[in-house]
Amino acid sequence: MKIELLGWKSEGLRSPDIEVKLEKSDGSVARVSLLQMPNGTGKTTTLNCLRAAMDGSAETWPEDKVKSYREIHGKRDLGLFVATLRVNDTQKIIVEMTFHFNEGVVTYKTIVGSKTVDNYSPPPDVRRYLDPRFSKLLFFDGELANNLIDGKGTTSASQIIDTFYGLYHLFELKENARRSYELYEKRSGPAKGAAQLTKLISRRDSLREKSQKLRQQAESNETHLQEFRHEHTRIEVELEEHLLKSGQFKEEENRAHEERDQASSRLEVAFHDVDLIFPDPFAIWPPLAARVHDLVESLDRLKLTEQSSRLFLEELVEEPVCVCDRPMDSAARASILKRADQTLEDAVNGYLKSLKRQVQPYAKDGPSTFGEAVDRIVAADNDLTEAGKSLENIRTRAVAAGDDVSQKKKDALEKIRGEIEALEDSVENARRPTRTGDDERCGCIDYFEKRLKEAENDLARLSGTRDLKHRTDTLIQVIDSAYKQAHSLLKDDVVKRANVRLRQILRYNPVQISDIGNSVQLEGRGGASVGQTLAVGYVFLAGLLYEGGNQFPLVVDSPVGSLDDEARKELGGLIPILVKQMVGFVIATERKWFVDPLADASDGDLLYLTHLRINEYTKEIIADLGGNKRSGSENGILLEGRDAFMALGEGMDETT
């Protein structure tokens, strides 16, 4: 699917009346279109209308919201916003939104080719991509890419994967099944037990709510924990670098580091030993070996095994036919009795001797191999703690002998450590299995899920819907497992492709994605610059937008708003490589360090547009700006051209 944004037109709205055409004279759209709109020109109005034209969401806007789009001091009762899209290079789709300000409603009209429909009705194959879940990813502010990395945005990276690959339909089916069952359950309840049923439903709902809340809380705590750990490592490195500058403690610190590394290796080896010992029950519990040893001794004395086997053979020779179906003649009888002595003696004695040999090393009173390994773990762990304390001690002394910067960093580390410990406790408590003594005041997810399951089963029994519940549960289990499988495969593929792309475009200093969860996680996060971090966000999104020959426009509000000079340059050079159509809404202060690299990277395929509201001040400067007038009305003008774009003073953002 290829969707291009060809332009839009607005009339009678809060933004000036204007028509923006993104098509070039040859009918194609520029790779990058920059639309400079000083504050007060209606940038937010335009972005919201564009989004609503794409996804049809204005049909449900509340009355107040619709009325708020009316031009200030405007007399017109109707407003109009028209967006034009092109699908697969041929089909034009025009979506018209009419704002009825007196009634506070928006009505839609959709024109596809020669067919006009009086509502929001893009063709079904296109509509999937205009769904709000999908289209919201095509309209974002410059911070989204960054949010994807730090996980602080409202949309998680993992959810974006679900959206692009339509995995959310699995959740829809699951939700449908759950809701449908609950409705049936409610209706099927016995008249006599109605009160009990209501009580159970209320209990189930409250348990479900509690369980969901705890799960969300745990996820949020895990994200914070990860952030605090990164922050702790970063400050720790900074502090060490700062302290080592003086050189006074360098040698001491190196020694402590060495001790810590050695203790860490010993701990690893000891754990490995325990892994090897685990399959051997005698090594884990020496008394077992002693008891088996006693048993072997007793058997040896009693010759029980041998006697019972001998009895069997003595009885066998009395039979007319052998166990192998051969007739038992005198030769066979003599042979069996002769060999029995030899074989039984060898086999039984051999087995008992071997067993004795096996348990002998453990059966004495000496220390257990397992116990020794555990002792080694404890010793190595103690050494590790001691080495950590030594390091801490060196740092404390260095800080005492140092400056305010060291003290501040140490304080910050202590504070973060406190936060980490509190979060670790909280996550551990939420994720642990249920234990005796838990009640509904505990924060354990497992506890509430078990109670929820019980409540659901009680409800199913009372309402006579056990069979339907069984089928619904089966369906939900199938969907959950299938989702995990599909999501994991798709995620791995996204990571792989994004990493190849990152190695290509950040050749000199590549960063790599390690995983995608709530956020896009980077390998060695500490080393990524702001520009690299943003590059990862854009690579991730662009990789999805253009996968499998798909192409969608990317509408970005303030692409470099809060970035420093270096990051602006990096991003300016990257965007044209990554996207096929980007429409950026900028203000004058964003041009610096961004526009030139962007122009270079797009090989001139860049459309410069400047949109101004007509007022006393702008009337005077428009002639000086130059540029070609692309569209104009009583209250707005659109100029095309780099000169006009670059000449607009930065002070415009304060004066309009």
């Binding site: 999937r128 339509g166 995995l167 699995l170 099944a177 056990r466 497992s481 499988q485 599909a486």
Partner: protein, 67 residues
């Protein structure tokens, strides 16, 4: 059409749980129609009922486990 990864995941889950293939087909039919965006609630309910019908009953499962 649902993604190949989704189709394979559903089929493999159905197979590993010894559930009827028909149930998998109906789950995929539901997802396919959900993707088309024209999927009124009534149709959803009908398709859901077909999926649930294709899954083994509690009685059948208990019978199997007793064998």
């Amino acid at each position: 059409m649902p993604r190949e990864e989704v189709i394979n995941a559903i089929r493999s889950e159905i197979e590993s749980r010894n559930l009827p293939q028909e149930a998998g087909d109906r789950i995929l039919a539901f997802i396919k129609q959900a993707e088309s965006s024209e999927f009124p609630n009534r149709d959803r309910e009908e398709q859901l009922a077909l999926i649930l019908d294709a899954l083994p009953s509690l009685e059948a499962e208990q019978g199997d486990s007793e064998l």
